[in-house]
């Protein structure tokens, strides 16, 4: 099986690679279109800001390649947000794989922003959560979130209930960092790698 981690200007993804190493899963870390399109599984990670990462994806043409992929694709954190329609972060139009707009956690909610730490996810409706205990804790660090929508397959609650995970066709996404979310997070990555292509 060939797994590709998409390389773009989205910060440090070292821990994602280490997580795959721990699972004994080989991968390529590349921005090469031929490698990406021929992969069995594609991971689209991300730590960073929406407008700079999105403009990089446009410049490289990845913004057209990713939505056209047919194999299972897994976006995490900012990767997930870039798969949505729009982000309030610097008013950025994103790839529109999930028809939902990403909102900032309101400053007047009395909640600290970013939402940082371990929070539980509920209402699982995705094979990626197979073998995960109910109400499992995942590690989140983000200031923007996708509200609950028709593609929501796991929910978390901070200033408002938001999409912890999204799923549409071959596209999967998680707002939290599976790679540092303990054994439950590791199980989600393993479940993704075990999906039938």
């Amino acid at each position: 099986m060939k797994t590709v981690i998409i390389k773009y200007n989205a910060g440090n993804v070292q821990s994602v690679m280490y997580a795959l190493d721990r699972l004994g899963a080989g991968y390529l870390y590349t921005d090469d279109v031929a490698e990406i399109t021929s992969a069995d599984k594609v991971i689209f990670p991300g730590v960073g800001e929406a407008s700079t990462t999105m403009s990089y994806l446009r410049k490289t043409g990845l913004d057209k390649i990713i939505p056209a992929l047919k194999q299972p694709v897994f976006g995490t954190c900012v990767g997930m947000q870039l798969m949505c329609r729009h982000s309030e972060e610097n008013n950025t139009d994103c790839m529109g794989i999930f028809d939902v707009d990403v909102k900032r956690f309101p400053a007047d909610s009395g909640m600290k922003v970013p939402h940082m730490g371990w929070n539980n996810i509920i209402d699982y409706k995705t094979p990626l959560t197979d073998n995960i205990p109910q109400s499992a804790f995942m590690y989140f660090v983000h200031s923007y979130a996708a509200p609950v929508c028709e593609y929501t397959v796991a929910t978390c609650d901070y200033a408002f209930p938001f999409s912890a995970m999204l799923h549409r066709d071959n596209f999967y996404a998680a707002q939290f960092h599976c790679e540092i979310s303990g054994n439950a997070g590791q199980q989600i990555i393993e479940n993704f790698l075990n999906l039938k292509s």
């Binding site: 440090n12 821990s15 600290k112 970013p114 940082m116 730490g117 979310s181 303990g182």
Partner: protein, 257 residues
Amino acid sequence: MLTKRIIPCLDVKDGRTVKGVNFVNLRDAGDAVELGALYAAQGADELVYLDITATIDGRSTFIELVKRVAQTINIPFTVGGGISSVADVSALLHAGADKVSINSAAVRNPDLIDELALEFGSQCIVVAIDTRYIDTEHGKEHIVHTHGGRKPTELRTIPWAKEVEDRGAGELLLTSMDTDGTKNGFALELTATISENGNIPVIASGGAGTMSHFYDVFTTGKADAGLAASIFHFREIDIPDLKDYLSDKQLPIRLTR
């Protein structure tokens, strides 16, 4: 619900933990990776590794250690100690650290906080503040200290905490040098003031001696996380017991057993 975090802190010199560690079940209690993995397995929510090495050779050893920690554990960890430039941070993040903690360098050059937040994002920039309540010409005040809490600065702690947030820090690690090592409890009033004054998470450090001290710092002290070192290393408090205790007291806690 977002949970309160329990964070063991490991002081590292030349790649090894220095504070006496009393774990009979560890093959090598000085191995910072093995100890971190044990804490992770016990339910620690994050780890902090502080490099107290002074030499250049020691620094490259620390980077190697950071890499091994990142390869081994699957929870977030912060690294700190002697970080003074964008290049230092880049090397540590690239090695696999999730966050970096800066202290003296932020005091010397506050613009560094802005630069780091812009370059790497606020989410991975922790500013550590060592504070002591001392006599000043205006009476007793909370004053920021450097050099392991020995050297007072001109900065008052409460406005400095706000300034580092405004400059882009994503989290504060607040250590009270008055309570540190006393085992008489965290500095509750100051921690609460800083936590309520700002809008970023506060990790309280210094003074933990009993499980109820953690309860106090999460309730009265309004802290988001509690950090301690020797009480965990010497097994005076076991992390699973501490988390059960806090959960029984109705605090939001990530239980792993």
